[in-house]
Amino acid sequence: MQDAEAERKRRQRKRSMAIAWILAALVVLFFIVTIVRLGGHVLDRPA
């Protein structure tokens, strides 16, 4: 019974870590894509 509980927690932790890494990767991807799509305009400032 304890083994099953330990295994359940281990899997939950692995799933949580995977989700965390994927979310972090998405943040980086969206940031880079935004910069690329904005191109040089990101530095434009109104006069």
Binding site: A4, R8, R11, Q12, A18, L29, V33, V36, R37
Partner: protein, 319 residues
Amino acid sequence: MSDTTVQAIPEKYDVALGGDVADYVALLKPRVMFLVVFTALVGLVAAPGTMHPVLAVAALICIAVGAGASGALNMWYDADIDARMARTAARPVPQGAITPQEALTFGSVLAGFSVICLGLMANWVAAALLAFTIAFYVFVYTMWLKRATPQNIVIGGAAGALPPMIGWAAATGTVSPESFVLFLIIFMWTPPHFWALALTRARDYERAGVPMLPVTHGADETRRQILIYSLILAPLGMVPSVMGFGGMLYTVVASILGAFFVLFAVDCYRTREGEAADRAAKHLFAYSVLYLFLLFTALLVEQGFGINGGSVLPLSWPL
């Protein structure tokens, strides 16, 4: 236990434990994802014009995730069939590692996410094509054709043939005759590829109640159909050369590969008895994978490295 009953869930896959990360990865059908990404990359590189490499990679990630979502939704719906076939019985849903509800949710979220992201990062033509591909694979192939007709993989093969068009659309925002030819090549390649596999696994399909051609029309008719499709595929592989986006390298590779495809199909057609028949079908199946990979690699090399008048670099660095 009879052959037709769903396998008992092993203790180590107690549903209460929840699935492991590897089980969720398996839901995405990684090998299919690789083929989808590869053919989409060829479509993207072969397309005229330039695309920023970051956006190209982002588009390919979206297409890969969309393909994975299709796989997860397919495994959700087909869990009963998968449990009865030796090739698929170890998949996460029939094993009980992931519940059907989890697979459905996982696939649906990824499908929506991939389509929206592709629309935002590339364009909405590519996103619409990706959405159509996922919907066609899930609703038309998985839910309808697969259990209804021996033409299941012929018509359903359209879903697997669309990725080069999606890649092309991601780069150009359009659908063109050239990208449609790439679609047609994979579309005509799919029947001999899958029927060669089905010839060796007819009993499996029969047990699962899937009306594959060898089950409904017999092995001889399947071999005849394989030969017909192969005879259409070989010259079709040359069409990119005729249209001008396949150069000398592609022409040579496509003609040699096409000739060998027909030879393997003829061997499969003529060898009908015993282990030799099984071996001929397996050889054709293995060769069909190599055929598509090398054919598209030739196009990728030509277009990617600017042979045949293509751009020296297919992707631009505008920053």
